[in-house]
């Protein structure tokens, strides 16, 4: 009896041991198999084949872009601040994803500035959608206004994202400082005292800010990406003007912020430089009783031309205020390859006051609208031989002139769109000669054309028709089974 029990015990112990071994074996085998599959995937990730099968090859990056991407040898970070609900976001996101997928060095982070304002603040992003490229300590900001161009002649949007992004990448890869020089020596605003916020904004965007006293130094520094003249109170001398003229002729970029003055004949040489560019500044103070800051008619809020510079501002409904401004205009019959365009202008009820004594109202000496408050100067480039005659002339940014400089002062720059305006202006001018030319892809905005009847038919067929047919089939099958 005892022996049988002992045998029973031994047998069940044996079976349990076998079960345990079998169980353990199974677990080890499973882990091993999963491990192999995971390794297989890691390998597959590195040695992958990726095909863009879209009709317009919209996800295929150009050769130039691939070259640039392949030249990376350490982590490049792209932080894209994009509003989720913007219609443009998917396209931009897709393109940036493609950059990230094509190189293991590129890391992409997409942030919605509304959902994560702290991150946006850390990068100094205000209203505009922007992509920040970082590489080896260098930064480059690409505002999304640079990525879509409204070709007004055709009314079509051109997506130049790849061009903008690859250019940004090239800029951060290049180990060069991009310096913005503020002129000094004429009581201009100093980036170290009066316009600290402006300077910090530029530095955030990867620029280095310095000052230059042209009279003393006698030359424009080689690394100048743009020169800013911020509110001079004294005129420049001839040598300085000649330096600036040569600089401009040699593809230099200029931002001129000139405050109003009642003195006729003030800043004659500086005016001469602006005239060279095709711009005449008026000796007046713009008074706008209808569009002004808190009803102070001396602080007009200008209308803005739809342009790369103002695109973000217009889209987010941001205004700009210019406290104490003078008007400017295009020089008539100016024969040069400079093209002047209006950027900011005052309302039809405004006027340019020429005499501040007595009451301020419109009299015969005063200037009538149209009163421009800001203008953009471009240089027209020679056309490419293969360019189609309907395509507009290729142009290059040269200068932006605004009839006010106090809008960039620390106390005023925080008003609505002021900061964005000045930073956009500098960014617009600072794009450099190595303008990357990547032909933009045709936007695949495939429209559907349905009449109300057709739309209706489509809706009912897809929502009710199709499932209905399936249910009907099921019903028939079920009924037939019941009658069997």
């Amino acid at each position: 009896m005892e022996l049988i029990n002992k045998i029973r015990e031994f047998a069940s112990d044996l079976i349990r041991a076998r079960r345990l071994r079998y169980g353990l074996n199974a677990v080890i085998l499973t882990v091993a198999i999963v491990g192999v599959i995971v390794m297989g995937n890691v390998v597959a990730n590195d040695y992958r084949l990726r095909w863009d099968v879209t009709r317009s090859a919209q996800h295929t990056l150009s050769e130039l872009t691939m070259q640039v991407i392949n030249s990376l040898d350490s982590e490049a970070r792209i932080t894209a601040f994009l509003h989720e609900d913007s219609a443009l976001t998917p396209r931009i996101r897709d393109l940036l994803e493609e950059y990230a997928q094509r190189s293991r060095f590129i890391r992409l982070v997409v942030i919605d500035p509304e959902r994560d304002p702290s991150q946006a603040k850390a990068y100094g992003i205000t209203a505009r959608d922007t992509a920040v490229f970082e590489y080896q300590g260098r930064k480059q900001y690409v505002p999304m206004s640079q990525v879509f161009h409204l070709d007004q002649s055709v009314g079509l949007f051109e997506f130049t994202g790849e061009q903008a992004f690859t250019h940004a990448l090239m800029t951060v890869i290049r180990d060069e400082d991009r310096v913005i020089y503020f002129t000094e020596g004429h009581s201009e605003y100093s980036p170290y005292e009066d316009v600290l916020a402006f300077r910090r904004g530029l530095e955030f965007e990867g620029f280095t800010v310095r000052t230059v006293n042209l009279g003393r130094e006698g030359e424009i520094p080689e690394d100048a990406v743009a020169i800013v003249i911020a509110g001079p109170e004294r005129d420049f001398d001839k040598k300085e003007i000649d330096l600036l003229k040569d600089y401009i002729d040699d593809n230099g970029r200029l931002v001129a912020l000139i405050d109003p003055s009642m003195e006729h004949g003030d800043l004659p040489r500086l005016k001469g430089l602006l005239a060279y560019l095709g711009i005449e500044i008026d000796d007046c103070l713009v008074v706008d009783p209808t569009r002004a800051y808190f009803m102070d008619p001396f602080s007009p809020i200008p209308y803005m031309e739809y342009h790369e510079i103002t695109e973000g501002l217009v889209r987010h409904n941001l205004s700009v205020v210019l406290p104490y401004a003078r008007s400017l205009r295009k020089v008539e019959d100016h024969d040069s390859d400079f093209r002047v365009r209006r950027l900011l202008w005052a309302s039809e009820q405004a006027w340019g006051e020429t005499d501040l004594g007595g009451t301020i109202d419109l009299d015969d000496d005063d200037l009538l609208p149209p009163l421009w408050l800001g203008a953009v100067v471009n240089r027209v480039l020679p056309r490419e031989p293969d360019q189609h005659e309907d395509e507009p002339d290729p142009i290059q940014p040269v200068a932006v002139v605004i009839g006010n400089s106090s809008f960039v002062l620390d106390e005023v720059i925080e008003f609505q769109g002021n900061r964005d305006l000045i930073l956009n202006i500098v960014n617009y001018l600072a794009e450099d000669e190595q303008r990357v030319s990547i032909r933009p892809k045709d936007p695949e905005f495939n429209q559907v054309f349905m009449s109300r009847d057709q739309a209706s038919k489509m809706f009912y067929t897809t929502v009710f028709g199709l499932p209905g047919v399936v249910l009907l089939t099921g019903l028939i099958v079920w009924l037939r089974r019941r009658t069997l």
Partner: protein
């Protein structure tokens, strides 16, 4: 290893799987479940497709396909819950397990059957691109690429559901487990986005829905295809192991 059946035909492994497949597929289409599930899938998918089309007026299916993927995530547990769970409950598993069929044959055969049901559903949604062609100029290759992605994603969901049903005798429980697992998988994508650093990138790497995006955009990437096939293989394997365990207890 071939065997001779009652009718004198030799049974190769392929015909064994075919046998299970046919049996299961017939069972699906004789029961109301497949029809109701497909109808629901088509109803909700159709609604989203129509809504998106009317709102955007674009001849594309990127949004619609994404929605279909999400919808199918809810449908998959419903379709798979009876696959391996109810055999045991109804006692028919005795028959199957004593027949000259390996567990793998059974599991794979059933899996292929539910995949076929899914495939029928997908084929029926062909109505949507048809409408796009009627009224616009869609990029059909891009849409096809999106469907390929949806097929792979759906098959992955079904494999997870298959595994879930191998874990329980009770269909309801199997369905709940499947739903729970699928939800976890879906959360991986979300976790990858919110959590940063290496942990975040691991989550993104294993996320099922993230890779679907490329297919919808018109990009076919071998790494993604291998990814989905891997998931499917792993879950089918796990299901086989789970059933084998039951057989031996």
């Amino acid at each position: 290893m071939t065997e001779t059946t009652v009718t004198g035909k030799t049974k190769t492994p392929l015909t064994k799987v075919w046998f299970v497949y046919k049996r299961e597929l017939t069972s699906y289409f004789l029961s109301p479940l497949a029809y109701v599930t497909l109808a629901m899938f088509l109803l909700i998918s159709g609604y989203f497709f129509a809504l998106i089309l009317l709102a955007t007026q674009f001849a594309e299916m990127r949004g619609a396909l994404a929605n279909m993927g999400m919808i199918f995530m809810f449908m998959a547990p419903v379709l798979t819950m009876r696959l391996l769970a109810d055999e045991r409950r109804m006692g028919t598993d005795e028959l199957l397990l004593t027949a000259p069929l390996s567990v793998a044959d059974i599991v794979v055969g059933k899996y292929l059957a539910v995949v076929s049901v899914f495939a029928v559903g997908l084929l029926l949604t062909g109505l949507y691109p048809w409408f796009l062609v009627q009224y616009g100029n869609p990029d059909l290759v891009q849409i096809a690429s999106g469907y390929l992605g949806l097929l792979l994603v759906g098959c992955t969901f079904l494999a997870v559901g298959l595994f879930a049903s191998s874990l329980s005798d009770n269909q309801m429980v199997a369905g709940l487990i499947a739903f729970g697992l699928l939800l976890l998988l879906w959360l991986c994508g979300w976790a990858g986005d919110t959590i940063g650093g290496t942990l975040g990138s691991i989550f993104t790497a294993v996320s099922v829905m993230d890779r679907f995006i490329d297919f919808r955009r018109g990009i076919i990437d071998t790494a993604h295809i291998i990814f989905y096939l891997s998931y499917i293989a792993v879950f089918i394997y796990l299901a086989v192991r789970a059933v084998e365990r039951r057989r031996w207890s």
